[in-house]
Symmetry: C2
Amino acid sequence: MALQKCKITKYTYGKPFFTDAVTEKIAQGEGAPAYVTEIENGFTYQMGDSDVVYGLGENVRGINKRGWHYISNNTDDPNHREDKVSLYGTHNFIIVDGKERFGLFIDYPGKLSFDIGYTERNTLTITAEEMDLDLYILEGESLNDIVKGLRQMIGRSYIAPKWAFGYGQSRWSYMTADEVREVVKKHRENHIPLDSVYLDIDYMERYKDFTINKETFPDFADFVQEMKEENIHLVPIIDAGVKIEEGYDVYEEGVEKGYFCKEADGSYFTGAVWPGLVHFPDMLNPDARKWFGHKYKILMDQGIDGFWNDMNEPAIFYSAKRIKKAMETAKAVDSDNMDMVHFDEFREIVSTLSNNPEDYKSFYHNVDGKGTMVCHDKVHNLFGYNMTRAAGETFEELEPEKRVLMYSRSSYPGMHRYGGIWQGDNLSWWSHLKLNMSMMPSLNMIGFLYTGADLGGFGADTTEDLMLRWLEFGIFTPLMRNHSALGTRRQEAYQFGAMEAMKKIIGLRYGLLPYIYSEYMKSALRGEMYMKPLGFDYENDAFAAKVEDQLLLGDSIMVAPVYEQNAEGRYVYLPETMKMVKFRSLTERTEEILPAGHHYVPIALDEVVIFIRPNHILPLSKGGENVADTDFTDLELLGYVTEEASYEWYDDDGYGRDYENPANYTTFTVKADKTVEVKGQKKLKVQVNL
Amino acid sequence: MALQKCKITKYTYGKPFFTDAVTEKIAQGEGAPAYVTEIENGFTYQMGDSDVVYGLGENVRGINKRGWHYISNNTDDPNHREDKVSLYGTHNFIIVDGKERFGLFIDYPGKLSFDIGYTERNTLTITAEEMDLDLYILEGESLNDIVKGLRQMIGRSYIAPKWAFGYGQSRWSYMTADEVREVVKKHRENHIPLDSVYLDIDYMERYKDFTINKETFPDFADFVQEMKEENIHLVPIIDAGVKIEEGYDVYEEGVEKGYFCKEADGSYFTGAVWPGLVHFPDMLNPDARKWFGHKYKILMDQGIDGFWNDMNEPAIFYSAKRIKKAMETAKAVDSDNMDMVHFDEFREIVSTLSNNPEDYKSFYHNVDGKGTMVCHDKVHNLFGYNMTRAAGETFEELEPEKRVLMYSRSSYPGMHRYGGIWQGDNLSWWSHLKLNMSMMPSLNMIGFLYTGADLGGFGADTTEDLMLRWLEFGIFTPLMRNHSALGTRRQEAYQFGAMEAMKKIIGLRYGLLPYIYSEYMKSALRGEMYMKPLGFDYENDAFAAKVEDQLLLGDSIMVAPVYEQNAEGRYVYLPETMKMVKFRSLTERTEEILPAGHHYVPIALDEVVIFIRPNHILPLSKGGENVADTDFTDLELLGYVTEEASYEWYDDDGYGRDYENPANYTTFTVKADKTVEVKGQKKLKVQVNL
């Protein structure tokens, strides 16, 4: 592979499992790798006091990952506290930036630990459970070059359909078609824009994948069509486990064909998830994957054009064996006189029922479809990836000309080619709004561009102010979905006194769409980041390198959301003079030029602020109530131009895959005198606003 | 009661339980209370958009309590997430400050709910489980006046011995006397100052209150004496539950005298806590309280002069009845084929075993010692208060001339007269360092002055940088203790590479002691706050009212700690011109005058910053390795004086109770030319440093 600005060297240790994360051939390095020192089962590096370590994708803590330890071990755990070490995804990519600058990607599907100054403040240590891995060292002039090199190596990121850049409303669960109709009606009546409604697990018949509960969602295909006519896309969830139930075709076929994960004795492994007892399709078996992928067609044939894959770490509430043992232990206890020792033992058994490492060690994958069995725990982090790949490969096969929305909870690099992710089952915590911000660039680096958090927070009860502030950031993330859990406070925009403000904020998203979609597409097609930490574009600014709560969105703007309760504004650092635009809605705005340096900026609860970089512009639409309703040919060029600004705008039909068509590109060149030159094949109405 | 600057009016609803929180007679108001509107079982108030609501003592979220709901229901729950509604204490005092200004105190020992703009952003609603309560409305010119009025009404705050303002080291648990010796030795060898070592539950014989494990702590009285000679005070923990064990005198006496809490049928209620099955002393029975209090003498006779009271919400891991039922349910399950319905049921049973409301409803207090039985759940929030009162009354009786250190986990106003609190079993989270800051003024308002958090965090693993930053705030809290839980990373200062920096930070505490002790004593004696939000002293500064992360400490200084990981400084708002003093140690410092307004201040990981208000001074000592070793007669007056500064300095012997002696006061008057006038009876060496 030849990429001028990034040199990548591969070092192979032991016998790595082939993950298919890397799509390019990378030259093997000779001798020991640069930068890091080999240690037993891993590598170590001595950081400088002020070095920044970027990366690790979906994880707790900040953009700079220093001062904690992390374990790549895809885990379903809803309590995302600061001290967690594993979330749902594995993204073994970091960039060390300081006294030296290099990227490091480890292709390894087992447990991998990153101690980034946790044990000793300046020591970075990476250790694998077993030393069967590929290490890639990436060297580049700039942070952006290193990212670009990585991305070229792992292949083009998934591209979502344009409608999936609209606002989505979700709930675990809208229980009936009528409830969905009501949600849509409330949005449309109140003119709150909306493009999609999500169907969580209760649309299914007893949580069986690819079934519809015919009582609560009768005539499903008609219902999908009815919603389409309202420009609403229904997006059903698909879970990893297949319910064990006589007469359920997916179960029976899987058993018959041998497509479920097996224990050492050849019997099918039995876990329990939402449907109760399940078998897990062997997503690592190419034949099983193809079989499972083709099941999505059942819903596509009913008009569905988007999915989300869940529970695919895979989550296991308990295994059949483990629950039996637990209950037997419980039965052996003398309940008349239980002492603390027995109580602790009992509590331990109960608290380790779910996602137990021993269960993950007890089943196997037929990784070539020909009987080569690999224990699940050695390839654990690939499960969700391959479930999503199953769907993605089917979509490419069945709908070669059309994009299908797909995102997953669990992930691994490589999966970024088949779908996006949502940022896990977060909570209605202010700190999780901040976490949403930190995760964006970390995920973008490793190729997950179509991503966002559950706006307002999934678990726990949200509040009106948190919902407002989270929407104010959410309008900038490619995936913009409001989602909440069973038993929590309702959080659709119309549930709040501040509905009008929420409507305007969501409306602003539709105004920003031409820019957001263009930046997303360019970052996917060019292997760049959609959202970047300040340090990536202001490399010589030592302060910028440490800013944790501002992000560059594409080339033209910086965002700096408020993420603290009861704050009426926030401090913002400007690496250079910028134009601040404060929106109360797409049309109600004020502007101010702010000099480089530190500022306290008042930002009311219903306001959104962006900062336009000098001699940059961004295209806005006139808004809409859904993507189809938004006119991408009638543009306002909003900018901060003292001399001249040029913007290369990408736009396409939003459904097809003709990404490389030159007709997709238009170049706007705006001068300080507001004259504009438009180069491209599109017929556009353009208004300049400097 | 006549307090010129604060008018207090009392409104009685139903038949309130007499809590003894209020020590003064307050006039009953006529008709409906001012400000609030009566609703069913409570009160409501319409807030202005920008009103601030202060108060609620120990609770989650910020200084401004708006945007969440809180339930006064003392609860032992170690997972202090943002969405918690109850922690360990009940502090039903708020001040609304905005379009109107008033304080509101509700004396009610049952469950009380505060919805402060949670359901509806501008609506404050307070509801009681039963409408038997005293409402006090406090009106004052200023926020400080309202606090002073409240404090006069509820009596003088507990005063700790001076040695308890030194640094304390704790761990769950130092298992042997030799381990304690080792901790002390490591501090002394490395010259890390230290005044106390805490004994968590394992010093006891099988977790039995007032016993000593003779194998691990042989010759306890000698050991206490040995430590005293090193100027180390040992502080043992006392738990609420008394172990059921034949031959254990406290258990047998309690049973014989009828001093334990009883169920409706007259049998003793049996719960399980650390010792296994226990009975709970009836802390609300005056006779039982006196009996339990006198047990502390067992340890005092061995030289102990400080205690901490724990598990006194009271925490109940399970009750004998409930565990029996749970295990029977478990036994009834068909473990060969457990489905999700039964699993959820089972999980629910297990997760509700601890601190179950039904258990709190199933036992009673003999509240007058004469057979007037009151169900525990109606007076739940008084339990920890009365346990601590038991000890406090004993101390006053047995040691009328000497102060004994006492603080508690659970609390209720009134208890502030008998002891302090630590801020619960927090976690090694950066957000809990922030929470520590938010709680300080909220607790100070309601009279809890001797307080602080477990520095470095109790649960979860700390990091070196978190420990440093937390110490940098902890040196300002009256209770300064490093404490961590079983199974977590060791966090004594000498465990870290940054030991030298930690030593200097802790050393700075001893330099600050003359000021810290003086401000603490004056706030206790005058009914004022030791730490205040900025809005309390800068009432006309709208920005100051919203600052959540800076505090005024006494009259002379403002503190603004760094509480974010990897931050190399922070933004600070100055309501007026101040002198910033940056310490690397007590003696290594730099100074800078900063104008009023917003500043970004670099603060390295080993630096502490204070801001001195104009024409204010503070007395510093030359440091020491423990309080006894610190010379309070050799002072440096550090200040920012453009004209003249006067400081009223309180100091006493630190052990006695002769608080009102005029000899305790010295007035320093310093002029810009560095001349100083010292008025008082003490013989002091004074050096001026402006």
